[in-house]
Amino acid sequence: MKTLPIHCNNQRFILHPSGVAFWEDKGMLLIADVHLGKITHFRKHGSAIPQISLHHNFNRLKTVIATFKTKTVCFLGDLFHSHINNEWLVFKSWVETLNCKVVLISGNHDIIDVERYTQLGVEVLQDWELDGFLLTHHPEERQGFYNFSGHIHPGVELRGLGRQNLKLSCFHWKENQMIFPAFGVFTGKYIIKPKTNDRIFVNTEDEVLEIPLKSQN
């Protein structure tokens, strides 16, 4: 795995190919749009998505948390896809094994009762202001803060010679904001068009790469 260190607001963050970022100073892992329970939700409604795929989300979470010296895991919203279902039990037993603080910034999909999270020791916030950073689900601009958010599931279309093109999920970096790619399996992406001063980092299986931006002629 090749990670990529970047700076936001003069703080160092490590971008990981799985689509998460590690805030070195705070020992905090930032993860957006996991959409747990989505596969089970589909299955409950008669759509036979392979069930084993749901374990993949948890395996990836375990791996990435173990990769860093994680003190806090902060989910930037849409942790659960919909109403409560049996996948909650998997989530519960996973949370109980963790030795770190877990925070959920509530997203539009997070409709499960806050009480359930609190009982597991997961703190649920609407947003979180922390040392000049603003952590939200929906991208937001607030004077004096650098914003981390999810919700968009950003992706980009890459072009090359020979009419080649590729669509990949990405981190969308702006001067006052960074939007995270969706972490979850089976979540999809929304193709964005970056502006001149933006930066784009795409994830492959084992690498994070910054892509040069080219103006249209």
Binding site: H41, H45, Q51, R159, R163, K193, P194, E205, L209, S215
Partner: protein, 821 residues
């Protein structure tokens, strides 16, 4: 009454109308009364309704001699038509006969257009003859107690069988027939089909692999031949001809005199956007036609389409610009001229379209072919010969369509439930599932009950339950409701309704197009300039606009490919290009300037030569190959060659194809010498190489989309209730990825590959093409710039991809376009 007396009733009625029955009508009555099944080969509007409906009524009289004093209740016959538009005409004809004979039989229509009230009253009291669609028939199988409804059926007629035999609607139809045969064992099955290359096979598909049924069936031919006059529109100077392009507008002025001289003309275009453009342009340049011209395509509202059809029939419209939406359906007597813009891709379609003109007996059909680019002149020349030799194509039926089977079994589980051991032999008796194994069937049963092959921890899969006595049944009302909404095998893009801000429905439009527009943008739709106001709740709200420069929706629609018959004809025309003047048709003579240019830059191959051209442009390194085998074969051959080349060293290609050839484009030079030295056109290891190239080039992904929807893996949503189902929506692309990673042995996932092989790649044709190439001399021309032959291919934007490079290595050479500021 004996058979002769019964048939005399029909004869007498014909005489009373002042008609004489056709031999095929008499043969049909006799065969039906003898208890036979059959396939009737007759074109639309030839009196086939009277052939079959009269037979059913006579059989009814035969079975119920006291029908006048003791009329029977309930359903006696089902008439299935793939085209709703035809129902009314069939109903009128059927009613006319029973009313004249004073037989107390009623006729009803049940389709997607039938109101809920009407449907409910039909359920209480079924008409004697039900005219319906394959989908509505399935919906009846999804209602409780359907077996009582169908048990006294005398006959089922499947109309326009040629339209169903080669698609999944046909599979769905034969599954329904397999059920009806058990419920009503004495029922006769009849099909009606236009002429296709494989009529005998079409009969087998209809009757299934039941030997007894097949041997008790007949094939009756109407032998109605139509005289067709084919003319091509050729400009005086070829300079006017674009090398590519598909609009044909440069010949617009040549069309005007034809329109003026004809009573009523249909202009067929190949796409809906082309239809819009032609309509706009004729009106803009010839405003005198305003009021006499209309447009007809699948995205326009039903009301408008019906209005156009009625106006055509009554002779109130001089010109209608249309797409395949008018290929079939009710006859328009006043139409005397057809104009086909651009290549029709197949002989059958061309003949069918020609037949939409000059419909009265004895009249000649007139069709003009308008080539949209230079090479289509070859098509023009080939089509003229094809029509005179009546070449028609085969329609290849589907095998093992597991997606349709999944849907069908859930349908049965929604209504009365089913027992697998009873239903298995029925399914196996259909043509499509004749090779279905017990293991595959068990797989399907597990799929609909467990959502996989074994019970897993934490699982909450819910679709079909197994009751204690072994009956498979849907007990959840939500599952049942969602299933009923999803019945059908025609999968279309997500569409949004277009409405005026002040109200008034205009039509429906693909989401993919609208999503590229912003409020304030102006686009052309249904012949109007519309400004996008906003998109909300699956509705596109628009205002009228006077702005001239409007975007025109680009409807994707299926790409059509030359049939093998057509490509053979095209090659023959091509080889004539090098021959002396005498053998050339005027179409080929018109191509002369292009031929000179092609010979200067490269060459025109003879029958014993295979041409490869290479050149470099700003876009990269091009290699263009010319097998002249049709789009589908080129798609397969292009992927195959790209795959084989990619094994030699890491390289990425994009691949473009049209009906004449294919192009490999790369950012690094393509080594043609390696193609020749390694004999990469070999037909050895064809199957396994093709399999790998399909994997690599993502071809199966497209097939999977339909499979996912038909089998209910993807829920397309409630009509106009999109919000509630939002958490259940996922793209089939996403789903494809999940199956690829976690369940690659899933039968539905595998089906995507099989279908790509059998219906997209046409492996058999590919094999023949490779063998032909192996007998030809390969001529490799290294050209300075793109040649006339290559131009239409290299400018095609729709491309397949194939790469043997590491993803990160490819990414490092790529960039992202910034948003326009």
């Amino acid at each position: 009454m004996n058979r002769k007396e019964l048939e005399q009733l029909a004869h007498d009625w014909f005489t009373a109308q002042g008609w004489e029955p056709f031999p095929f009508q008499k043969q049909t009555w006799t065969a039906f009364l003898q208890g036979k099944h059959g396939l009737l080969n007759a074109p639309t509007g030839s009196g086939k309704t009277y052939a079959l409906w009269i037979a059913i009524v006579l059989e009814y009289i035969n079975q119920h001699p006291n029908y006048k004093s003791k009329p029977t209740k309930g359903l006696l016959a089902i008439w299935v038509t793939p085209l709703r538009a035809l129902s009314v005409e069939i109903k009128q004809a059927a009613e006319r006969f029973v009313n004249d004979l004073d037989v107390p039989l009623t006729v009803g229509i049940r389709s997607g257009d039938t109101s809920a009230k009407e449907r409910a009253s039909q359920k209480r009291k079924m008409p004697s003859l039900l005219i319906t669609t394959p989908e509505s028939l399935q919906l009846l199988l999804a209602t409780k107690g359907y077996d009582k409804m169908f048990k006294n059926i005398i006959g089922v007629v499947v109309d326009e069988w040629h339209e169903l035999v080669a698609n999944k609607r046909g599979v769905q139809m034969t599954l329904a027939l397999s059920r009806l045969n058990t419920i009503a064992p004495t029922m006769r099955t009849w099909g009606v089909s236009a002429t296709i290359g494989n009529l005998d096979q079409a009969r087998e598909v209809l009757f299934g692999v039941n030997k007894e049924r097949l041997s008790n069936s007949v094939l009756i031919k109407a032998h109605i031949k139509k005289k067709i006059n084919v003319l091509s529109i050729i400009p005086e100077t070829i300079d006017k001809f674009p090398w590519r392009g598909h609009l044909g507008l440069h010949l617009l002025e040549h069309v005007i005199p034809i329109l003026e001289e004809s009573q009523s003309t249909l202009i067929f275009t190949n796409t809906r956007s082309q239809c819009e453009i032609w309509f706009q342009n004729i009106l803009a340049k010839h405003p005198e036609f305003a009021g006499d011209i209309a447009m007809h395509h699948g995205s326009i509202s039903r009301e408008t389409r019906l209005w156009v059809e009625t106006a055509l029939r009554e002779g109130n419209l001089k010109i209608v610009v249309c797409t395949s939406s008018l290929d079939l359906g009710v006859d328009f007597a006043p139409v005397d001229t057809i104009i086909q813009v651009g290549g029709p891709k197949g002989v059958s379609r061309f003949i069918q379209r020609a037949g939409r003109s000059g419909h009265q007996p004895g009249k000649t059909s007139v069709i003009y072919f308008l080539p949209t680019h230079a090479l289509e002149l070859l098509e023009a020349s080939a089509l003229i010969k094809a029509v005179s030799n009546t070449v028609v194509e085969d329609r290849v039926p589907y095998l093992n369509s597991f997606d349709v089977l999944v849907q069908y079994l859930v349908t049965l589980a929604v209504s009365d439930g089913f027992y697998p051991e009873e239903i298995f032999p029925e399914i196996k008796s259909t043509f499509c599932f004749q090779t279905l194994t017990k293991a595959q069937f068990q797989w399907i049963l597990n799929f609909i009950t467990l959502g996989g092959q074994s019970l897993q921890a934490y699982d909450e899969y819910k679709r079909v339950d197994i009751e204690p006595d072994g009956k498979f049944k849907v007990n959840s009302r939500a599952v049942a409701m969602r299933h009923r909404l999803q019945i059908g095998t025609i999968v279309s893009d997500a569409v949004l309704n277009v409405k005026f801000l002040k109200g008034g429905y205009i039509g429906s439009i693909e989401e993919s197009f609208i999503s590229k527009l912003r409020p304030g943008d102006v686009f052309t739709f249904a012949g109007r300039q519309l400004e996008l106001f906003r998109v909300r709740n699956m509705q596109v709200l628009v205002k009228k606009s006077k702005q001239k420069n409007a975007k025109i929706p680009n409807w994707m629609g299926g790409r059509m490919s030359f049939s093998s018959e057509m490509s053979h004809l095209i090659r023959e025309e091509l080889y004539l290009l090098n021959s002396n003047e005498k053998q050339k048709t005027k179409e080929l003579k018109a191509l002369e300037p292009i031929v000179i240019r092609q010979n200067r830059e490269s060459m025109v191959p003879n029958s014993d030569e295979f041409l490869i051209e290479t050149f470099k442009t700003r876009e990269g390194y091009h290699a263009v190959f010319y097998p002249f085998e049709g789009y589908f074969v080129h798609e397969a051959m292009g992927s195959l060659l790209a795959y084989r080349l990619s094994l030699l060293h890491p390289i990425s290609f994009t691949i473009a194809f049209n009906d004449y050839g294919f192009e490999l484009l790369s950012d690094q030079p393509i080594d043609i010498q390696a193609v020749l030295d390694n004999n990469l056109f070999s037909s050895e290891y064809l199957r396994s190489d093709l399999e790998k190239s399909i994997n690599a080039s993502e071809m199966a992904k497209r097939k999977f989309r339909d499979i996912a929807v038909i089998s209910g893996l993807v829920f397309t949503g409630y009509p106009s209730k999109s919000v509630k189902s939002k958490h259940l929506q996922a793209s089939s692309q996403l789903l494809f990825g999940v199956f690829e990673d976690y369940e690659p042995d899933n039968l539905l996932f595998q089906q995507a590959f099989t279908e790509t092989f059998e219906h997209q790649l046409e492996e058999g044709r590919l094999q023949l093409a490779l063998m032909r190439i192996s007998t030809q001399t390969i001529i490799w021309k290294s050209c300075a710039k793109p040649t006339p032959f290559s131009f239409p291919i290299i400018t095609d934007r729709l491309r397949a991809k194939l790469s043997s490079e590491k993803l990160a290595d490819r990414i490092r050479r790529m960039t992202i376009q910034l948003e326009k500021s």
